[in-house]
């Protein structure tokens, strides 16, 4: 199959949907001639013109709010927020408006809007341009949250997102934009709420998503040489969350490592741990549930410091070794 980068896959999905459905419009800062801060929409202005590919002033509240109103009026806006950190500027429109409009108006309106935004650290862009904020929205009823980890998923899940009648926060993994992978031609959708087991194993269940999937797979390969077989589950969407896949993998392996880039405390990892600890998998656990998230710190500028605050392959491998080690469990017995 042909290969595309993650960024190209996103552009392809958005372009296909815009060709298919003229109610799809695309709004954001510098998405037109500039092609977006990360070049995702390069060439789209030329194909779709300035009426459908709309540069906006720097006004995140108005941009998202405009998306909400347009969606309530029957369009399917795709809104780009240049860095996911800037969702904070539009938080009211996302949480109090988009996510609540349907419910508070008794189902009279739906809000089929997608907010696309690049998430995560690793580019030396420091505290205000590097956060992983998915947990806020997983805690917000009324909005879906998606974190594709491959070009193929990025394409299929963006298509799903655009066709979804609800607001969807589509968190693009900044450091994956240039990563290549096989991507089917033509339109296809990937359902939300279905995790993908990226690697089968029986010793430790690694539950992860987004850019950390790759690092978990690398760590799993590293420890496989030592006889530890980790299973790597890529959640793909965080709301809805694939509870069954989480529980099944935890039950199968009896040991669980949860990995994400976002700060550990209050992160989605807590939700995952809680699901397992309150499920039938609990009875099959052979060791405490381990979380390996980012340090509870803003993202620093200096490259080495920046690397220090998010989980690295070596750290994940160490955690796997610690979990798999015999005797780690049941000192009580």
């Amino acid at each position: 199959m042909r290969e595309l980068t993650y960024a190209e896959a996103i552009r392809e999905a958005l372009s296909e949907e815009m060709r298919r459905d003229d109610s799809v419009v695309f709004l954001g800062e510098d998405i037109g001639v500039y092609g977006g801060a990360f070049g995702v929409s390069r060439g789209m202005l030329e194909e779709f013109g300035p009426v459908r590919v709309r540069d906006t002033p720097i006004s995140e509240t108005a941009i998202v709010g405009c998306g909400v109103g347009a969606a309530m009026s029957g369009l399917r806006p795709v809104v780009e927020i240049m860095f996911s950190d800037f969702v904070a500027v539009a938080m009211d429109q996302i949480v109090n408006q988009a996510a609540k409009a349907r419910f508070q108006f008794g189902g009279q309106f739906s809000v089929p809007m997608v907010i696309r935004t690049p998430s995560g650290s690793g580019t030396g862009a420091a505290e205000q341009h590097s956060q992983s904020l998915e947990a806020w929205f997983v805690h917000t009823p009324g909005i879906k949250v998606v974190t594709p980890s491959t070009p193929a998923d990025a394409k299929g899940m963006l298509t799903t997102a655009i066709r979804d009648p609800n607001p969807v926060l589509f968190l693009e993994q900044k450091l994956l934009y240039r990563v290549k992978g096989e991507v089917p031609e033509g339109e296809y959708t990937i359902p939300f709420g279905k995790a993908s087991v990226r690697r089968e194993g029986r010793d430790v269940a690694v539950i992860t998503y987004g850019r950390m999937v790759q690092r978990c797979l690398e760590a799993a390969d590293a420890v496989a040489r030592e006889g530890i077989e980790a299973e790597v589950v890529d959640l793909r969407s965080l709301a809805p969350l694939d509870r069954d896949a989480i529980v099944a993998s935890a039950k199968k392996c009896g040991r669980v490592l949860i990995v994400h880039e976002a700060c550990t405390t209050g992160g989605v990892g807590g939700e995952i741990a809680a699901i397992i600890a309150d499920s039938e998998a609990f009875f099959w656990l052979d060791a405490p549930i381990r979380r390996l998230g980012g340090l509870d710190s803003p993202i620093p500028y200096n490259r080495t410091l920046e690397d220090t605050v998010v989980p690295r392959t070596a750290g994940i491998a160490d955690a796997l070794r610690g979990l798999a080690r015999k005797g780690a469990s049941w000192p009580r017995a």
Binding site: S59, G65, C66, G106, Q108, F109, G142, N166
Partner: protein
């Protein structure tokens, strides 16, 4: 005054309905029949009714928390409004929203908003959809004087202007943001000045005179369709407290009384009599009808079923 008599009577009826609706709602509060809060627009009836009565069914409105006049002006049903106020399943929002979130997509209401200024960008989005679809309709966005200090106001007006959207921004200036008087929340006295920041037209007028409000809206509608956004400031006054729990220690009784001398309903009644459009009997009959409509709405609401608790999650997400 080239407004047809039927339209004038409609304006009078809607204003009376608004006043009776709210007086009744306030009484239901006192009787402990309502759990929640409400923001009444008594004294401001001419604004929402005047503006919305000048709109076509396909025009859209975005309402405020103080918007019963806007809702009734646009043609919402009193019974379903009252049912929503009482939190009933037959209410517009099936009891989910209450009067702070009243909406009726069938008459073009995008709903009221509990976040001050929160509805302004949404209205811009609706106008964007109208422009994109090449519709002839416009969107009217209501907000208060206090709301013009929110960032959302600024961003939304600028965006609407840059994109030349068919939207009429209507500021209902009642000179107070909760307890804070206009001159302590902004340093200008004419809010219409704010239009200049966006290169759009701004105009202020007496919001207690329903005829000028109606006529200004008709004119603004044509302007907006041709030229893009405009800001209309309607100066008026609220008689009641900000919400049910307002001590009203921030203004004098005299100030309130002086505004009551220019009560929008009385002004309009006098005008209709003076111009010979209606007789006193006709006006009393309209008022009586308004009263009966409100009574029927209460009956409808009170006899309506409560929402079912097992359906509470119904509209969190669309299928």
């Amino acid at each position: 005054m080239g407004i047809p008599a039927a339209k004038l009577k409609e304006l009078f009826l809607k204003m009376s309905q608004t006043r009776h609706f709210e007086e009744t709602a306030a009484r239901l509060f006192t009787e402990g029949k309502v759990h929640g809060t409400a923001h009444f627009c008594i004294g401001e009836e001419a604004t929402g009714v005047g503006v919305c009565s000048a709109l076509a069914p396909e025009d859209l409105i975005a309402q405020t928390h103080r918007g019963h006049n806007q809702a009734i002006g646009k043609g919402m049903r009193l019974d379903r409004m009252m049912a929503e106020f009482l939190g009933k399943e037959t209410g517009y929002c099936h009891g989910r929203g209450g009067c702070m979130h009243i909406a009726d997509s069938s008459v073009g209401s995008l709903g009221a908003n509990g976040i001050v200024g929160g509805g302004i960008p949404i209205a811009v989005g609706a106008a964007f959809a109208q422009q994109y679809r090449k519709l002839d309709a416009i969107t009217v966005c209501f907000f208060g004087d206090g709301a013009t200090n929110e960032g959302a106001f600024h961003e939304a007006l600028n965006l609407a202007s840059v994109w030349k959207l068919p939207i009429l921004f209507v500021c209902v200036n009642n000179y107070y943001a909760m307890s804070t008087p206009l001159n302590r929340h902004m340093n200008i006295s004419d809010i219409a000045v704010r239009a200049q920041s966006y290169g759009i037209r701004g105009k202020s007028l007496d919001g207690n005179d329903v005829i000028s409000v109606y006529e200004a809206t008709l004119e603004a509608k044509e302007y907006v369709r041709r030229e893009g956004p405009m800001l209309l400031v309607l100066n008026t006054y609220r008689y009641m407290g900000h919400s049910k729990s307002d001590p009203q220690n921030y203004r004098t009784k005299e100030e309130v009384e002086s505004w009551k001398k220019r009560d929008p309903l009385v002004l309009f009644r006098d005008r209709l009599l003076r111009d010979g459009i209606c007789s006193a009997e006709e006006l009393d009959a309209l008022d009586g009808q308004a009263l009966r409509d409100v009574a029927a709405a209460v009956e409808y609401a009170e006899s309506s079923p409560e929402p079912r608790t097992d359906e509470v999650l119904r509209d969190v997400l669309a299928e």
